[in-house]
Amino acid sequence: MSDLNVTVIAGGLSPEREVSLRSGSRVADALRRAGVEVELRDVGKDLLPALAQDSPGVVFPVLHGIAGEDGTIKEVLELAGVPYVGARPHACRTAFDKTTAKAILDQSGLKTPESVTLPKQAFHDLGAAALTARVVERLGAELFVKPRACGSAFGVSRVESAGDLPQALMACFAYHDEALIERRVTGTEIAVGVADLGDGPRALPVVEIDAGTGLYDYTARYTPGAVEFHCPARLPAEVAKEAARVAVAAHQALGLLDLSRTDAIVTEAGEVFVLETNVAPGMTETSTYPMALEEAGLDFGVFCRDLAALAAHRHGLSV
């Protein structure tokens, strides 16, 4: 394996830059400890020349948010003709667009919270009061408002009553021109990692996220100790199994490769509602994916190295 070298790309210009830098340096570090030669790079004018020159080996993109998870970086890597870890451009684009992803999951028989997607312009043209009233009529007033495509809970608001909705929409529209308004499903919040080391996608142990009475928002996500994680989740065995099945099914339905993380809510009745599936799961100290790997008894560095080797193999390289 010693002749495998990997370029980790992290940073970028999305609001998740900081998260990405933290994930990226952790992946790079783990790879080095697994004996891989690693180059860590940001997205900028020097990236393409570097990929063209330095025989970059396999690229491991650890970019979150727009341009990171929406398929752009993958499209660029395809153009550069280098092997990379993770899903192809089209699949990334689909998964990152929550509205499209929900439709695909729905067709595959998976449950997602009932929702509507509305552009900013619609509120302007039709009148915000009339339109929000209709939304509340349909979905109730206990809602989540999310940018149609964005990560790390940026621009996400929890709506408790109809009066909160306009402000939540304004906050959302600062990140994206379309809002996904979802009926709030209450239950246990979970994250299920999926890993495919060449023998088909398999679910990692389920991580339960206990944010107490708070919201699993940006602060909660990246302040150690702000939320409690349990892995394995404190769920009945058959429910955990169902969650695992759902995560693998989502990974397949969206046509993903190598790794993904599905965030979901498990209701009291044991139903699993998918919130979203991420193609570039966070890899920071407080992220759930590395936790699940650990619980599965997998070494983080070796896992990343195996994914890189797999990507090289897909590309027809032998390492």
């Binding site: 210009l13 999305s14 609001p15 998740e16 830059r17 900081e18 998260v19 830098l21 900028g44 900013k120 509120f123 302007h124 915000a128 009061a129 929000t132 790390s152 940026f154 621009g155 608001s157 009066g163 909160d164 909705l165 306009p166 402000q167 939540a168 929409l169 304004m170 906050a171 529209f173 600062a174 990140y175 991580v207 339960e208 940006y218 602060t219 996500r221 990246y222 302040t223 150690p224 100790g225 702000a226 409690e228 994680f229 349990h230 892995c231 394995p232 989740a233 404190r234 100290e285 407080t286 759930t288 936790m291 650990e294 619980e295």
Partner: protein
């Protein structure tokens, strides 16, 4: 919070150990956005970084080399907690520019004026004590007061600085409430963040109000010599040596990387500050102190300051001109006579923090106003700085920002009638934006 549940993961095992004062030290969305703002693709009107590349680097390199060659054993050794005596003399000549007549014995050299602020808070503030400050005020001072678990109470300003009557009323109100103010923290000249200067005719009145209320004045003055018109303002300390602790800094007039600032205090206070400095850092970097001293004694620093002022004047003018040219109706801003900052107030209904993601996506950054208040005020305000980007970039940035505000105004038109302001405490930006 410790638990024996085997499944518990990723939590901080020391969670139960933190001091109460660490409660506010959490990740924030605003900090995350600033991580993007530091990229060259973004016009950052957020940071307060001086443009150090305008320094004569060859001369600085030469004097540092000479310093090591000639005085290595001193420059690389421990020094005294109070600071290098020669530098303290030099500091007195710098302060003389603002009318201050000081003795080097009363100067304590610190790691930036930020540390002087910390030391003053350390020796004066108990948990629950009250500090009165301008509203808005310097964000990291609020962080310092919070770290000592003191409460900050704001007094309003107008375009000529803090209102003496409002200050007197605030002191009286706090006294009646049984929480008398201990300190009045003020940045009277070219204030960070408002760009406002306390008018000469109000200065004696402010000192009088503080003296009557027995409130110690903490005058923080890093920008005093960066006046873009006329002569430097006379410092508050110049007229009340017994009632003012004065904080100075070479961060804006020379280079923040050297981390040399100071406190000038009445002698009894100075004694405490020296002891506090000793426990905080043993001694400051002798190398940095000697380098600053040598720079001031061998280089034409007055000329250099003049060059800085010309550069910053051009940038300020670029910012004020383009604000005038591009901002939609209903937006207002201050017109600083020096320093680095312009304070912009948005039309009713807009929220500068909620708007920041849109701005960063449009590739311009600013600091939302709420960070400069301890009480959640400042939602409609933002701080713009003109110190770092060159004039053309400033113009581009302001033009982009005007578009962003325009879009936000349209949103507000759409939702305004139905929206009510959401709550949520202030989030403080990172130190690189102080």
């Amino acid at each position: 919070m410790q638990s024996d549940e085997p499944s518990r993961r990723g939590a901080d095992p020391w969670l139960g150990h933190y001091a109460e004062r660490a409660a506010g030290m959490v990740a924030s969305e605003v900090r995350a956005l600033f991580a993007v703002a530091s990229r060259p693709e973004i016009v950052s009107l957020a940071g307060g970084m001086p443009n150090v590349s305008a320094l004569p680097m060859d001369a600085v390199a030469g004097l540092m080399a000479d310093l090591v060659t000639e005085r290595g054993p001193v420059a690389l050794q421990y020094g005294s907690a109070q600071g290098d005596p020669s530098l303290r003399e030099t500091i007195c000549t710098v302060m003389a520019e603002e009318g201050i007549d000081a003795h080097p014995d009363d100067v304590v050299v610190t790691v930036g004026s930020q540390q002087a602020l910390d030391l003053v808070a350390r020796v004066f503030l108990d948990p629950g004590d009250t500090v009165v400050t301008e509203g808005p005020t310097y964000v990291t001072a609020l962080g310092t007061f919070a770290a000592y678990q003191a409460r900050a109470v704001h007094v309003d300003m107008d375009e000529r600085g803090v209102l003496p009557e409002a200050l007197a009323e605030t002191f009286a109100r706090l006294e009646r409430a049984g929480r008398p103010a201990k300190l009045f923290y003020t940045v009277p000249t070219f204030q960070n963040p408002a760009g406002v200067t306390l008018a000469a005719e109000r200065r004696l009145r402010v000192l009088e109000v503080c003296r009557r209320a027995k409130v110690l004045v903490l005058e923080d003055n890093p920008y005093g010599l960066l006046h873009l018109e006329g002569e430097p303002m006379r410092a508050l300390r110049a007229d009340a040596p017994a009632d003012v602790v004065y904080l100075g800094s070479f961060s804006k007039t020379l280079a923040p990387g050297l981390r040399v600032g100071w406190a000038l205090a009445p002698s009894a206070v100075r004694d405490k500050l020296v002891l506090a400095a000793e426990s905080a850092m043993l001694s400051h970097s002798a190398f940095a102190q000697l380098a600053v001293d040598r720079y001031l004694r061998t280089q034409p620093w007055q000329e250099q300051l003049k060059a800085f002022r010309e550069m910053y004047r051009e940038r300020r003018d670029a910012m004020l001109d383009s604000l005038e040219q591009h901002m939609p109706a209903g937006v207002s801003w201050t017109r600083p006579g020096g320093g680095f900052f312009v304070w912009v107030t948005l039309p009713e209904g807009l929220d500068s923090k909620a708007m920041l993601p849109r701005a960063v996506q449009s590739r311009v950054a600013y600091v939302p106003g709420t960070g400069f208040y301890a009480d959640g005020a400042g939602r409609r305000a933002m701080r713009l700085s003109y110190c770092y980007p060159p004039p053309e970039r400033i113009r581009d940035g302001v033009r982009t920002l005007a578009d962003v505000i325009g879009t936000e105004l349209e949103l507000w038109e759409t939702f305004g009638a139905t929206a009510h302001p959401h709550s949520g405490g202030p989030q403080t930006p990172g130190p690189d934006h102080s």
